[in-house]
């Protein structure tokens, strides 16, 4: 009973952290289950994929009903994330557990560095006197396009609109059909490459892959950050489910662990969307970076040790 409560509470914390900082819970759930509960890495990744799908479905539902997510662009790109996730899921069962742990540690360090750089960029922008009527934390350190994409709808609502890079919609053809009001999608080929990478990352590590998708859509494809975040969230469901099906049929999902964790993550993400106005995201982000670095070190030790 105590273990069950701890698992649910761990899920709540991971879900809340993730939603407040614009990350899915995946980067925290996998270490929580492996380092905290001693689960094999692959079972932790399987459980994490389930959590990622639940939060994606709930958040994408809101994004779509608010007409924020670009359904056509998302579905076009998720053809590639799904195929890559399938490949990633298969590879995950071939890669030694220790190597996977080291790779996961590298991913955590990358996320931590991205968040530090996001903070620096925001500070520089503020120092430069850029208009900043809102609390800087509300853009969640997403200077170059929200490093994750798995954010609460409320957080995304507050995300700043892009200016540079987005072209006005107008001409016909495929790109026009994928574009939205006020922006025109470009560089589809590079977007496809980014989607392939996001799919592999998602299935290998049990994360949503938004850390790749959002910057690619925003910086390379010219999609506004708010739309990129919402669209990434939409895509995460299909991407993660393609990976999760591999784990499901290969015995990589433990229902006794995945269910309470998913419930906790869902509750935590829902709670966070209501608390986001009252939390100092700057301090939370620093704390999160510290947690990521410590966790990365522990995962690396697990891999090398």
């Amino acid at each position: 009973m105590a273990e069950l409560l701890l698992l649910i509470c761990g899920g709540v914390v991971a879900g809340a952290f993730g939603a407040l900082l614009g990350l899915g819970g995946g980067v925290l759930i996998v270490p929580l289950l492996t380092l905290g509960f001693g689960l094999p890495l692959r079972e932790a990744v399987g459980a994490s994929l389930v959590c990622v799908i639940v939060t994606s479905s709930a958040a994408a539902s809101v994004y779509l009903q608010r007409d924020v997510a670009n359904l056509r662009l998302g579905m076009t790109l998720e053809m590639f994330t799904a195929i890559a996730a399938m490949a990633g899921g298969l590879v995950a069962f071939l890669v030694p557990d220790r190597l996977l742990a080291v790779m996961f540690a590298a991913l955590l360090m990358y996320v931590a560095l991205t968040m530090v750089r996001a903070r620096d960029a925001r500070d520089n922008r503020d120092a430069g006197g850029a208009p900043n009527g809102r609390d800087s934390g509300h853009t969640s350190g997403r200077p170059n396009g929200d490093s994750s994409g798995e954010v609460s709808p409320e957080a995304a609502e507050r995300a700043e609109r892009p200016s540079g890079g987005a072209e006005p919609a107008g001409s016909g053809g495929l790109m026009a059909s994928l574009s939205g009001p006020g922006y025109r999608v470009r560089n589809l080929g590079r977007g496809v490459l980014g989607s392939l990478l996001a799919g592999v990352v998602s299935a290998l590590f049990g994360v949503g892959g938004g850390i790749v998708k959002v910057p690619v859509m925003n910086l390379i494809m010219g999609v506004p950050i708010r739309v990129a975040t919402a669209t990434s969230n939409l895509m995460i469901g299909v991407t993660a489910s393609a990976g999760a099906l591999i784990y499901l049929f290969r015995g990589g999902i433990d229902p006794y662990v995945a269910a309470p964790t998913a419930l906790g993550v869902f509750a935590g993400a829902s709670l966070a969307s209501r608390l986001s106005d009252r939390v100092d995201l700057g301090i939370l982000r620093l704390l999160f970076v510290a947690v990521l670095v410590i966790t990365a070190a522990q995962m690396a030790l697990r891999g090398f040790g």
Partner: protein, 116 residues
């Protein structure tokens, strides 16, 4: 189906899927508590479609947990199917083809997973 309306419909499908999934998982967890099953108890019940119906009929927690997890994993696929019908109704052939490819990729994942 008009653009915008399709998005809202697909959004409702996703929201309903998330709620149903979480409700099933919650029932399964309540069953775990009632049956004194810990999350780290081993071995955990394997995924088996035939056993799933038996477990559900006998109200075993594993039945609800697996049904909830299946609902979680299949909700995005149901969203793609809903989109497919919406695009077909709107005459958007290119997007219909995209939806078919996405579904095919998901089915292939399941087949490869089951085949391994």
């Amino acid at each position: 189906m008009k653009a915008g309306r399709l998005e809202r419909t697909v959004g409702l499908v996703l929201g309903a899927g998330a709620i149903v999934s979480v409700a099933l998982l919650a029932i399964g967890i309540a069953g775990m508590i009632a049956a004194h099953i810990g999350p780290l108890d081993r071995p955990f019940p394997p995924f088996d479609l035939q056993r799933l119906t038996v477990d559900l009929a006998s109200l075993k927690p594993a039945g609800f947990l697996w049904l909830g997890l299946l609902a979680v994993i299949l909700t995005p696929s149901i969203r793609v199917i809903a989109s497919l019908f919406g695009f077909a109704a709107a005459g958007e052939r290119r997007m219909v083809a995209v939806a078919v490819v996405v579904l095919a990729a998901i089915c292939l994942s399941a087949a490869l997973g089951a085949g391994g």
